[in-house]
């Protein structure tokens, strides 16, 4: 898989989980509800969307309820399968909201810790039901007949190679450029000396890692790597240099966030463009570099290249994320959102001031669950296969970790935290290549140990997360006119 393809799939992942996290943020961040059963709504959204869209009799191995076939119901209309799928998604969101209503009515009055355990229990039981009841949605065998909206249309392209490159390549570069510009704005207050020190530290660290990796024979760690030799000495010196420079940078500036942004931008650039640049310099090879820069353009799609389905689907999910982001922003930046936050701070206060807090909590639960349901529908279409094991309770806990890393009650923080979480979780997967394959499970466990520890450390040292709680601003407009 080309690096750009991996990049796209990681981005899609982050986008879908960000949407899931936004839903959690509505419940947990803005309303203070600890719903440890959030994944249940993700699961319901995924299953119901698939079920509503799925035509009957697609497969002999499927023994669940017969699908409603909405994906083919509008076949006469252009883009009819998308329309059918969108309706299915809305039904999936509504189903998630409805189930959360049923769960919420008895449980939402409970103390926060009782709510947490009851929600976890209900999610666990629901998962067991989906797992055991084959008549429902094929039980543990899962559903393979997942409709992927518009998948027949792609890849698309103009037929002209140059035009395609321009059409898809230019936006790709523009987006990378814009990202670089935003990063530069964040990094700017750092000043020259700390910035140089930070750069030095990051490069030294990367160099150290590269030295260790390249000296490994057969991509397998063996004890020889740990022996004293020239390469290891260089790697060690670089590592020490990195720590020294990093410490110096930290003592010279208070802008830790800017320093982190600088380091991550550098690491990303090294990871994403480093290898192609080496190829360019060494062999005059430009293909890799271009592919990575023009990441929205897929050279292998069609005769003249174009936009393939994976790339389209990333943009598609991104559109949903942006829509959900604006929707949640609109909700919290309103008198309604103010009541939600008051409920979070001390429920008795809004209640004593005449706000029916029960209704607010139920609505928040349903809204958050509907967003989780939307994420579920997208998840199913992205993966193309669902089964109950994809919806274990750990998914909920990952979302809590992501939200807390980024900043509870901060919608941008949710996206940032989700990105950081999945970069740690998936981005470190390339390290697996350097260990014998029988250690894959150990490495997965190690990652989760790190994530659990990170959660505790963040809660202790920086409970507000990377970005802290967001600011609120109710748009007063001029003479009242306001819209997004």
């Amino acid at each position: 898989m080309a690096l750009a393809d991996f990049f796209i799939s990681l981005l899609t992942f982050v986008t879908i989980y960000s949407l899931f996290g936004l839903g959690l943020n509505v419940k947990f961040g803005f309303t203070g509800l600890i719903d440890f059963g959030h994944v249940a709504y993700f699961m319901i959204g995924a299953y119901v969307t698939v079920f509503v869209a799925m035509p009957a009799g697609l497969s002999e191995t499927y023994e669940g309820l017969t699908g409603l076939g909405l994906a083919t119901a509008f076949a006469g209309v252009p883009g009819g399968d998308l329309l059918g799928w969108l309706v299915a998604l809305v039904v999936g969101m509504a189903a998630a909201a409805l189930v959360s209503l049923l769960v919420g009515i008895p449980t939402i009055r409970l103390r926060e810790d009782y709510l947490a355990i009851t929600a976890l229990g209900i999610a666990t039981i629901l998962n067991a039901v989906f797992h055991n009841e084959r008549w429902l949605f094929n039980g543990a065998f899962g559903i393979r007949e997942v409709h992927e909206p518009l998948s027949g249309v792609f890849p698309i392209g103009t037929g002209s190679f140059q035009l395609n490159l321009l059409l898809f390549g230019l936006p790709s570069v523009a987006i990378l450029g814009y990202a670089a510009y935003r990063t530069a704005k964040v990094v700017r207050p750092l000043g020259v000396r700390p910035a140089l020190l930070g750069t030095g530290a990051t490069l030294a660290l990367a160099g150290s890692v590269v030295f260790v990796i390249t000296t490994m024979t057969g991509l397998v760690v063996d004890l020889g790597v740990l022996a004293l030799n020239v390469d290891n000495t260089i790697a060690f010196v670089l590592l020490v240099g990195s720590v020294v420079a990093g410490r110096a940078a930290l003592t010279e500036t208070d802008h830790i966030g800017a320093l982190l942004a600088l380091a991550s931008a550098l690491l990303f650039t090294l990871w994403y463009l480093g290898q192609p640049l080496v190829a360019l310099v060494a062999d005059g090879e430009t293909a890799d570099l271009l592919l990575n820069l023009f990441w929205l353009y897929d050279a292998t799609a069609g005769s003249a290249g174009g936009l393939d389905y994976d790339r389209f689907f990333f943009l598609f999910t991104l559109a949903f994320l942006v829509g959900a982001y604006l929707w949640v922003e609109r909700t919290v930046n309103s008198p309604y959102g103010r009541v939600l936050r008051a409920v979070r701070e001390d429920e008795s206060v809004p209640e004593a001031l005449g706000k029916p807090t029960f209704r607010y909590k139920i609505q928040s639960l349903m809204f958050g669950s509907a967003l989780a349901g939307a994420a579920g529908g997208l998840w199913a279409a992205n993966i193309g296969f669902i089964d109950p094991t994809q919806f274990a309770s750990t998914v909920t806990f990952f979302a809590y970790t992501a939200v807390i890393i980024g900043g509870t009650a901060n919608n941008r923080g949710v996206v940032l935290g989700t990105a950081v979480f999945w970069v740690i979780n998936s981005g470190t997967r390339f390290l697996d290549d350097f260990f014998p394959s029988e250690y894959a499970q150990q490495l997965a466990a190690l990652r989760l140990i790190l994530i659990g520890a990170l959660l505790i450390v963040i809660l202790y040292y920086r409970p507000e997360g990377m970005l802290g709680e967001q600011d609120y601003d109710i748009n007063l407009g001029r003479g009242g006119a306001s819209d997004d």
Partner: protein, 400 residues
Amino acid sequence: MASAGLLDALLQGLITGMIIAAGALGLSLIYSIAEVPNFAHGDMITIGAYLALALNKPGAIPFVPEFGGLPLIAAGVLGVAVAGSTGAIYEVAIFRRFRSKGADLITMVIVSLGLALVLRNVVLFLVGSGNINYDTERVTNTNVELYLTGNGLSVQTVQRQAGDLVTLGEWGYGWLSLLAIVVVAAAVGVGVYRWRSDDASFETVHLVSPRVFGVASGIVALAALATVLQGAPHTIDAAVWSTSVGVSIKYGVIIGLTLVTMLAMNLLLKGTKTGRAMRATADNMALAEIRGVNINRVQLVVWVLAALLTALAGVLTGWFASNLNPNMGFSLLLPIFAAVIMGGITSPYGAVLASLIIGVSMDVGVFLLPAEFATYRTAIAFVILIGVLLVKPEGLWGDV
């Protein structure tokens, strides 16, 4: 030959309840005194079970040097002791720090969740996800078969040995002796209850409540009389009703160990200075501190005790089911929480009683429901919890 029935399910449920109780006792301590709704409790159970495994079967864990292994009893005792020190680590390294920052309940919930993630994956990292069991003697179940005939009750004990059913013993009771056994046992129970509650003035703090005393003496009397009054067996061909109850030495050990542990906890809480300090802290931490209770010491004791109790539950579960896996504790977490909330989080005795109720309903429920519902064993515990919370949001023996 009789088949298993309700009585068998009841006994099974009692054992399940006893195991849940060992976990619930620890959780209720942490919950009420340390004020942490501990989501890592299930994984603490797993850790306890695997610590004993590391000593019992060191070859099973790659990072432990092979030294032959200890017998399960020694490994269990040592493992539980080591687990106690991990409780101290959780408290000192994590929860004390958060407490001193005045962390709220939500934060504590999520911190314990982080700890749960770490603990479970430490097990996965070191041992892997496979099923494994302790290296110990196989225990053979004995079936106690009860036959009700025209002449009274007849009992057969049957064991499967090398594929064949072997009848170990056979005896019976006439109607008269049956009646005598039941009446005398009930009389002993009621009598002891009366005797224990007689001297009760308002200030008396009973180490063991009269009710528990009464029930216990009744059961002892029942067992004693049943042994003494054994008579000749009746012909069982004409049995009107028969049932079979599986028992094994495991049952006795689990019931005995859990009861002894509860008694020890009871003595500790009611009879010692530390216990009084613990109860004062549960009541009102700030007030207890003003009155000179060393909160950090109390909390350390609580976490160590809870870790000991969870480890005991873990070893018992692993031994009882002849199976250890990294999810064993997590699957107990829901019933344990259900028991603690149902019993009212400030009442360890309520938690024990609720554990038994939940254990029995899980196994009896599975017995009564059609076979395809067997996979929803845990769900039954949960439905009961939700039902209780709907009626009494503060728990059955709520903290009024």
